[in-house]
Amino acid sequence: MAEANQLFREFKIQSVSEFFRRNAAMLGYTGKVRSLTTLVHEAVTNSLDACEEAGIPPYVRVEIEELGDEHYKVVVEDNGPGIPEKYITHVFGKMLAGTKAHRNIQSRGQQGIGISGAVMFAQITSGKATRVITSTGGDEIIEAWVKIDVDKNEGKIVKKEKHPNLKGWRGTRIELEVKNVKYMRSKQGVYWYLKLTAIANPHAHIELIEPDGKLIVFPRSSDYIPEPPVEMKPHPKGVMTDDVYRLAKKTRKNTVRRFLIGEFSRISDKKVDELIEYIAALRLIKTVKDKKLQEQYYQRLMEGDVKSVLRAFKGYTKVVKQVAKLMEKPPEKLTWHEAEEIVEAFKYMKFLAPPTHGLRPIGEENIEKGLKGILKPEFVTAVTRPPKVYSGGIPFQVEVGIAYGGEIPAGFDLYRYANRVPLLFDAGSCVTTQAARSIDWKRYKIDDLDRAPLVLMINVVSVHVPYTGTGKQSIASVDEIYNEIRLAIMDAARRLQTYLSGKHRRLAQVKRRKTFEKYVPEIARALSILTGEPEEKIREYFIRFIESRFTAVEAEDVPVEEVAENA
């Protein structure tokens, strides 16, 4: 937790919890249905993350108990690694603390605010502490009641009991009592959230007990446990001055040069030399009075012509040397202005595309398993596009799954995800909705999208998903992402089209065959009267003939000869 402690020096401790207490909406606690969903989301996310990091196939059980009017107890239990006693207050009590906060890592959660936000929400609506029962699989089970001291932004255990762990149980169970929320089986409620979560996490077994006692099980459909995401160093194209400035303060490297090479991806010794030239060039260009001439220099710099730009200025070597010196000073001495210069130079330079090994898509096979397992469709397909970059340096990846027919009811449904987390709100402003609607579905044999038994799932994976607002429920319309989503949908839709045309053809074939077969008894009787041959035999001739024609047809997969009568 050293990292967090260090970080918290930047903030006034007292205000963090206080701020979110007053602005619960920013954490997703708005509306009675949504607040409950958010609460469950935070707990389930924590459970899934914990299980994955420990390499355990997740088993998550959610129980919603109605205690009174708009008054519920929410229980979430998992089979995860459990929480060591001394970390309980940190996990549940402190805002902006956690294992992933402020690392450049793809994550489900919201930078460590999540579960402590839930604890706080329970506390401010019901006044009750959150009950935590956990064991790491040792001899004892810890039962603790956790509250948040809002003023100090600290977790407080108000009561603690220890029990012997006779059956060797391991996991975490938390119980939150909340008011001012409502359980509804709507598309923004807990049921829907868990269903979507189950689809995107086929390796998880998820259960829900609704307030009326109904048990709903979303069974595990894949044995594969996704690898936990790895940290990725920021790419120079994707950083802002503030990032460079703050990272420079934190780094353990002893020169700016080593700091840049060490804390960013795609920066080498040679790149730093290049950076020196660019910064020098930029400094010199800024001295030019003639605006038009200045434009020309910027243009040439953009084209990578840094050497000739430098040579255009007298005594440029002096400036280069100055900048070079800057690279050798300790990073904590880096000024805001210098950080600004570095970021500006990055914009003109060329870098290799950022590494994408930190991205953790669900994968085509697992999307198919998830959709198949939960929705029971007759057809399913998935496309995981190769990683791409937006804003010049932020890697992202798009995945799309299509499920069609079977137990899916008529009517188009779009399941939106960001890093596997279902997005239930603000669908209208989401880039995924726009991309899905921009597709000409008729071209893929879907004549009436709004009546088709079709589910489209879209997962946008990125270290930094560009959400449109604080609620993190809608992805901004970034051109690169929009285009990738469209390409992915079209790719999947083409496979659906192939399936549908094959199905139509087979159906038509069966229907056609039946047309002929139903007339055979009539024909046989008439021909028997006309020729005197036994009816039964004639019927056999015709059936055998139809049989042979249709097997031949199926082998070739071409329609039976169709000649208009007057042809």
Partner: protein, 385 residues
């Protein structure tokens, strides 16, 4: 006025109805279907195409004839399968009728073969409009009359005159059946004429006019046979006219209203019709002549006051031609109306914009048509081709 007597000509063809021929046709086609299916071939019927595109006017015989375009009806074709089945059903039915010596009307044939196909909610025939065309298809395919297959149409039309008819075991004189005469049955294939004491047959469009002529004793006085068609001539009547002309040598004279519809009735009797082009050889009588009404009659007999206006819009007016005008223009283009006399009549009708009914002759007197108009025109040979 010198009387030009019309004489019976020599018979040209023999009546030839042979039920064995129909049975042979049925057997041949059914066996071929069975052979095809045994050999794994898609069985089919070749049926001469119906409709205007497959008829032509044969100048030599002066008949509307059917061309040689065929349409192939396959079993293994979604669009044909049902009709293929229906064709065989009717064929089997015809076989039973003919071998048992029974006759059925078109409607009976429809009901006899209509039933629900087992295991479906589909009927073999949903409507008589499905079975009638199949029967026509068989006529064209086999080149035999529906009547020869023992399927008859509703009877319409009657005859009156000194002619002895043998119908099965009955034999009678058609002038001794009262003023109603003898109703022409749907099929006349089995009828024979042991004795004929008339000089010609007068085919009359309306029953009212036929009744008038009978009342005036025209058949007896003029030695004529009256055949009332009651509108467009039925197949039975057309076949009867054909047989009387070709088997018994009776000249045929047609008497209709002076309007496009009356002239069309004449043209059907004479040249055959598009629908039944394949039967022209058996139904049409190209030697028939036309006595009236003509446009010239209006002037000649002073009937200007009893004409009626043609219906529709004339060709020179906006929106025209429609109705009667359009019909007249069509008839002017018929190959068999390509002669001076007919073109003149049709032109006059267009010019004056009038039509005239047979009954308009009653304006002169009730006896006028029987005593003056018809004898005068017929004996003078004042007839249209």
């Amino acid at each position: 006025m010198p009387k030009v007597k019309i004489h019976r000509e020599k018979p040209k063809e023999k009546f030839s109805y042979d039920p064995k021929k129909v049975l042979k046709m049925l057997d041949e086609h059914a066996r071929r279907i069975l052979e095809d299916i045994k050999q794994g071939k898609n069985p089919h019927f070749d049926i001469p195409t119906r409709g205007l595109s497959n008829v032509y006017f044969d100048e030599k015989s002066r008949l509307i004839r059917m061309g040689d375009k065929l349409s192939r009806r396959y079993f293994l074709n979604v669009a044909h399968a049902r009709k293929f089945m229906q064709t065989l059903l009717i064929m089997a039915y015809v076989k039973r009728l003919v071998s048992e010596g029974k006759h059925a009307s078109l409607r009976e044939a429809y009901y006899a073969n209509k039933h629900t196909i087992p295991g479906t909610r589909e009927n073999t025939f949903e409507d008589q409009s499905e079975s009638d065309p199949i029967i026509e298809d068989l006529e064209r395919m086999f080149g035999v009359l529906r009547e020869e297959m023992h399927i008859t149409a509703d009877r319409r039309g009657y005859i009156y005159g000194d002619i002895v008819i043998r119908d099965g075991e009955d034999e009678f004189n058609a002038s001794k059946l009262g003023s109603g005469g003898w109703a022409v049955p749907g099929t006349v294939e089995h009828i024979q004429f042991p004795e004929i004491n008339v000089d010609y047959a007068l085919v009359v469009e309306t029953a009212a006019m036929a009744d008038r002529l009978i009342e005036e004793k025209y058949p007896k006085k003029e030695n004529a046979l009256i055949i009332a068609t009651q509108g467009q001539a039925s197949r039975g009547v057309r076949r009867l006219i054909h047989r009387l002309h070709y088997e018994e040598g009776l000249p045929i004279i047609v008497f209709t209203d002076g309007d496009p519809y009356g002239w069309y009735i004449y043209s059907t009797i004479k040249q055959g019709s598009i629908n039944l082009a394949y039967l022209s050889d058996k139904l049409a009588t190209p030697e028939a002549k036309f006595v009236g009404m003509t446009m010239d009659d209006i002037k000649r007999y002073g009937l200007e006051n009893v004409t009626e206006k043609l219906k529709g819009i004339p060709p020179n007016k906006k929106g025209g031609p429609t109705g009667d005008y359009k019909r007249i223009l069509e008839e002017m283009n018929y190959p068999w109306f390509q002669n001076k006399e007919w073109q003149r009549q049709l032109q006059l009708a267009l010019k004056w914009g009038v039509r005239i009914e047979q009954q308009a002759l009653a304006n002169k007197s009730l006896e006028f048509v029987a005593k003056e108009y018809l004898p005068e025109k017929i004996n003078n040979g004042d007839l249209l081709p």
